[in-house]
């Protein structure tokens, strides 16, 4: 069983000599083969949780246990492309010199960037930039990808099509995803399980059946939505 286990995680920041507790005694376990959603409002600590898992920051106390030799990838809210590299060069940015070019060509096709390989990021739309960032992350063939609101800055239509693409790619590649979002519809569309975060800890865990109909306007989904809102104490 490939599981990521987090035990009693604490993290706080000191801003202007005032201590802000972000995560308190947070414990959870994540199945590394599924899409796990971390859902919560701004400032609830979900980005901090992701940054701790990725190793970009260290916890004050608590442990994060990953499966042995787990390769991690990460996608940020911004595409974070290197402006001096073309789309193609950005995609192979983290790869060793002798990578499989045929695989990359296939990947570029999968994310719909064929024909834009030589374009510099400044020339690409926001959606295309995120596709490039997605391809860069997928090219590494990591077993677990951390995604920090990667589609939040995109317009509604682009966001919906990127969600569908992510689901399609997820079926092709055997990679797990931890996906942070504040968007309930996005959480219900993508998630195999949803962790609702509130005040620095997990308030609720919802597991969606594998054969669940993903229509966000259907009755079961509206029921889920109510349950999520209730657990976040928003009425």
């Amino acid at each position: 069983m490939s599981e990521l286990i987090i035990n009693a995680l604490n993290k706080s920041y000191t801003i202007d000599k005032e201590k802000h507790v972000v995560l308190r005694e947070l414990s959870l376990s994540v199945d590394c083969q599924n899409i796990t959603i971390v859902l919560g409002k701004s400032g609830c600590g979900k980005t901090t949780l992701l940054r701790l898992i990725s190793g970009l920051e260290k916890p004050d106390s608590g442990t994060i246990t990953t499966p042995p030799a787990l390769k991690l990838g990460m996608m940020f809210q911004e595409a974070r492309l290197m402006p001096w590299l073309t789309c193609y060069q950005n995609i192979v940015f983290g790869l060793p010199p002798h990578f499989n070019q045929a695989k990359i060509t296939e990947l570029i096709k999968t994310v719909g960037l064929t024909g834009f390989e030589e374009a510099y990021p400044a020339r690409l739309s926001g959606g295309m930039q995120q596709r490039t960032a997605l391809a860069r992350t997928l090219a590494l063939e990591s077993q677990l990808i951390l995604m920090d609101e990667p589609f939040a800055a995109l317009d509604y239509f682009t966001r919906v099509s990127m969600q569908q693409e992510l689901l399609r790619i997820k079926k092709l590649a055997s990679t797990g995803i931890i996906f942070v979002t504040h968007n309930i519809d996005e959480a219900l569309t993508l998630g195999d399980s949803i962790l609702v975060m509130s005040q620095g800890t997990i308030a609720k865990k919802i597991i969606l059946p594998a054969n669940q109909n993903r229509d966000i306007l259907s009755a079961p989904f509206i029921a889920y939505k109510r349950a999520i809102l209730a657990s976040m104490q928003i009425h």
Partner: protein, 256 residues
Amino acid sequence: MANLRRISKSLWAFLFVLLVWQIVTSLHIWSSYVLPAPVKVWETFLIMLKRGELLEALWVSARRVAIGFSLAFVLAFLVSLVHILLPPLSPYYDKLLNIFRHIPPLSLVPLLILWFGIGETPKIIVILLASFFPMLLNIDAGLAGCDQKLLEVGRILHFTPAQQLKKIMLPYAIPNILVGMRIGIGYSLRAIIGAEMIAASSGLGYLILDAQTMSRTDKAIVGIIFIGLLGLAIDYLFELGMRYFLPYYHEVTSHV
């Protein structure tokens, strides 16, 4: 095509200045010794070109600039690397560097002559001092100002510090480095002319000063205009270099 049109537009200003200059000299307000006619200056220019004295002076000055500027660039780059890689050391030398930054390089010429004579060394040191600081400040700004968000991408990829420097910080800093070089070469040019006017027997600065002692205003004007054109040519070369090394930068700016 657009480039040609822009050049032809800028020619009008030159024509205007030449015309006013010609009119003023035809009115004989000042003697031709004080202000020679443009035609006379042009003739002198051709003669100086033919005799080779102009190109020789250019060669001497350019050589000094090339040596001093290259030394300054390497030094600025190394100091900047120490700055970035070993930040705890910087309080020890920061203030000392700052004092030197505020000393006009030309003020050192008397001392330099005492120490090194009037050979090449004092001029090269003056150029080094003149171009070192603008380059240091700009390289520093480029490396230290690297986008933390891009560096995090490197950390996720488990880059070593050397890889972070090579694959993210340096490419990120290239526009700043080129700006620093551009300013540095401009400062070098000013400094070398100054230094050659104080203590030299060759070079463009000496050519102008020598023309004054020989009462050859036309020669002095040729020298001055030549320096201006030299600066223009160097600027143009930098622009070409930027377009070559920074195609993305050009794309970005051309969209604004």
